[in-house]
Symmetry: C2
Subunit: 191 residues, 2 copies
């Protein structure tokens, strides 16, 4: 399982044999059943998680209501930067949508790697930059476009999502209520 994570890292910056070994030494694997939790609001996030298979949903709870922020599928990486970096309790909830196989490593070990092999610092930088870009894109979509456009872009970009995720989670991800998504779909069908 760790192989595929290493592969991903190598696409960011290539690792020597030694660096790969140092990295593998700090990873652990883990399984999660559907509906089990990777993270609950109030936990402290000390791990980076690589999704080898399965899927996760990240959401915040606002006024008792779940606001879906992101979905994670195979080959994605997840960590709560805020909690991971500051040691603060997280505001995030992450739950398995499907059974998952995961690879993890801890913040403490990552700091060690940063010290010992600057290439990981580079990987960390590029990863953070990418996370920023993808958040930025989501931000732009969410604030500049109408729900209908957001929905259209999403089916364009991720048609698979609708096969694997219930519609009311997708509605939440789009920043609207399930009833509204239903209306949008109807509107678009009859046009």
């Amino acid at each position: 399982m760790t192989d595929r994570l290493l592969q991903q890292l190598n696409t960011i910056a290539s690792l020597t044999e030694t660096e790969e070994q140092a990295f593998v030494a700090v990873t652990t694997t883990r399984r999660l059943r559907k509906k089990e939790w990777l993270m609950r609001q109030g936990d402290i996030c000390r791990m980076v998680t690589f999704i080898y298979s399965g899927s996760l949903r990240l959401f915040h709870t606002v006024d008792g209501e779940e606001k879906t922020i992101q979905f994670f599928f195979e080959n994605a990486l997840y960590t709560d930067y805020l909690s991971f970096l500051t040691g603060q309790p997280t505001l995030e909830n992450v739950q398995a949508l499907e059974d998952c196989a995961l690879v993890q490593f801890s913040r403490a070990d990552l700091e060690q790697l940063y010290q010992q092999h600057p290439v990981f610092e580079r990987i960390g930088r590029i990863s953070a930059e990418r996370a920023f870009l993808s958040l930025s894109a989501r931000n732009t979509l969410l604030t500049n476009q109408s729900p209908e456009i957001r929905y259209q872009q999403l089916i364009q970009a991720r048609p698979d999502l609708f096969q694997r995720v219930p519609q009311y989670h997708i509605a939440s991800f789009l920043g609207i209520k399930p009833e509204s998504l239903s209306r949008i779909r109807k509107r678009m069908a009859t046009r």
Copy 2:
């Protein structure tokens, strides 16, 4: 001017004399008059800009309408990650709200620094992480809270903003129309 930028960098990771000199060698300074442009949609962003004094406004143009994304004041850093990292033309417009004194360095030089002194890689990583966190906070506010709450949080967090920035830019930053902001203010005053 570059001193204050160095100071900021040193709070992220401390630089040796040599590293400081290498950095200073690649910086240039620049002035901008009110209403002049640092960046226009379609440009390619090759620079990181440190605001020594003055202020800037970053906005996107969507359907002929300006959407203010962010304000920059003294000691802030600006770059368009997307354009800076990929070399793509930017979608961002950045205009001086007040006369500005700026310190800049180029992507090419930064890459050199990354190669020669890993500490800059570290600074780059931490900066990207911070940018992510701050965008994430804005995101949460913008998507989870009503315009009224967003306005309240903003005067709490940045009362100075209202002294330095016209209200219609602030409205745009809050994701609403000037008329609506005016009404929110009236509503709050009479309560």
